[in-house]
Structure formats: structure tokens, C-alpha cells
Subunit: 169 residues, 2 copies
């Protein structure tokens, strides 16, 4: 591969609900979604995201993903998507991480966008949204992952002709 | 109310998948459920729990619950259950917490069982399992909660004639 530092660099954006809206939901304790329950002992931040599960024998399952930290500079070579269901990631320890998504352009991912998520932010990718596999930063990190299982092929991958560069997290 | 210390004391049990099986699933990184994905960079602990959502307009939603820490000794006066769906709790910071459930006895909760969960353990209550509202310990704690929304009444509460005591966490 060519010198990674010669690749086109991607700029990091802060992760906000507005910026991420084309791709899915940000899962964080948003005061606008808060209601008191359990006799006032619990703040419920309600319906921050919704799971999607389509197709034969579709079910929503809960998993833990333990992501190894990525090495930077990182050459981003591929993206993937899940046509039959959403997929959410919520860090189980409060450590910042990177969320990489791309708009669809005629069935292929366009230029990636990189969001820097704080340790108290998760995301839910809507079904069929192009994203990069889990990108932990600094140390191995566990995430709760809510996604779909069932019959059928729920994975599509795409490899870019020329990688992009994430210089540092 | 009578002197709380005169109430019947509940013994704490460690939270294990086997002990909790009558009530639902323990959500933790169980080596038996591990498969390597993402080119070996991610350990996927697969299908640790499954979301249930029944009835009209049923959907699975993701929420954050911020639980205030309970004061101990704690007089346990009530239980609740959700007939139309499961409900999972996974701590978003690694802090121990308490899981309180009860077997059903002719439509009422029986004697409660108290499990001490480690900070890396979540649980999923199956639909219609009696449980106590969220019981954080020591400090306010955020949990990712996966449960059901939709039409119909999904909450049933029961108040014990005589409370039980959790002396300390």
C-alpha cells in the first residue's frame, strides 16, 4: 500500500444528534427525553433509539462487543452495512471512541464521515447505513450491541479503491 | 411502618447465569458465547439475551435509566412486571448494583431473591417476570435499558402486606 500519510485525510466531527441524524440516533442522556419514574428515584431517558429487525425469523438480540484499540494513523479501507436491521453500540466503560459512517451513493458508500463520540455516547445505525467496524481508541473497550438475528444475509461489505486516512483520534 | 430492622431479611446471592435462569439472562462477556469478528479486532459475545415485544404496535426501544442510589437498610415494599415485553439493564459505568426478582405465585410475586451484580453484569428480565425497580448502589448510575413500547398496559405492580429488608448491599 502507498504511504498512509499520503492518503486523503478525514476530519473528525463532534458527535451530535443533528449531525448524525442522516445515519441514525445518538444514545445519550438527553434532557429533552427525560421523565421521572420509579417514585422519582430514576430518570428515564425514553426511546433514544429504536431497534429494526426485518425478514424471516427476525429477532432483536443483545450482545457485547469487545473492541481492540485501533492504531493511528489508520488507513480506512472498507465499510459494511446490515440491510435487515439496525445495530447499536453503547460503551460499557466511559471511554471516547470513533464512529465512522458514509452516505449511500448508488449502492456504494460515499466519502466517510468520522465522529468523535464521548464515553457517554452510543449510536444506533439504521438498517442499511454504511459504517466502519467498531473503532475503539486507547484501550480495549466493551460495548453493548443491540442488533438483529434471523434468516438471510444481513452483511454487505465494500472496499474502497483508495483508502482514506484517520490521522489521529 | 414497623422498625425496618425487625423485618424479614433477604440474603444476597451472587449473580450467575444458572441462578438467574428462571427469571431471564445475565448479560456479560461469557467466553462460551465469544466469536472473533471484524478481521480479528473484535470479540463478539453473541446473543447474550433476546428482546421480547408483544401486542399491538410493539417495538423494541433503547433508553438510558439514571438510577439514584438506594439507602440501606432498604425496606422492599413492592414489585412490578411487564406482561408485554422483556426489559434489560446494563450498567454504563462499571459499578456493582442489585437485581431483585421473585417467582410468580398465582399472579402475585413470591418471596424476593436479591442478586448482587458486578459492574460488568447486566440482566434481561423476561416478559412478565416480577422484579423490583432499578436499585443502584453507592452513586447515581446510568444503565442502558432495552424494552418494549407500543399500545396496551405493560405495567403491573404488587405491594406486599409486610415488607422485606435488604440490610446492606
Amino acid at each position: 500500500m502507498a504511504d498512509p500519510l499520503a492518503l486523503e485525510r478525514l476530519t473528525l466531527e463532534p458527535l451530535t444528534a443533528e449531525a448524525f441524524a442522516p445515519f441514525g440516533s445518538v444514545i445519550q442522556a438527553d434532557p429533552a427525553a427525560m421523565r421521572l419514574i420509579n417514585g422519582g428515584t430514576t430518570e428515564r431517558y425514553h426511546a433514544l433509539a429504536e431497534a429494526e429487525a426485518y425478514g424471516e425469523d427476525a429477532r432483536v438480540i443483545l450482545n457485547i462487543f469487545r473492541g481492540a484499540p485501533r492504531a493511528f494513523p489508520y488507513a480506512l479501507t472498507m465499510m459494511e452495512r446490515h440491510p435487515l436491521g439496525s445495530q447499536s453500540f453503547s460503551p460499557l466503560t466511559p471511554r471516547d471512541w470513533l464512529v465512522v459512517v458514509a452516505p449511500d451513493e448508488d449502492g456504494r458508500p460515499g466519502r466517510p464521515r468520522v465522529f468523535r463520540a464521548c464515553g457517554d455516547q452510543g449510536v444506533n445505525y439504521r438498517a442499511n447505513v454504511w459504517h466502519h467496524p467498531l473503532m475503539a481508541v486507547g484501550a480495549a473497550t466493551d460495548f453493548l450491541v443491540v442488533d438483529r438475528t434471523g434468516a438471510g444475509n444481513n452483511l454487505e461489505e465494500f472496499f474502497y479503491d483508495t483508502p482514506f486516512l484517520i490521522a489521529e483520534p
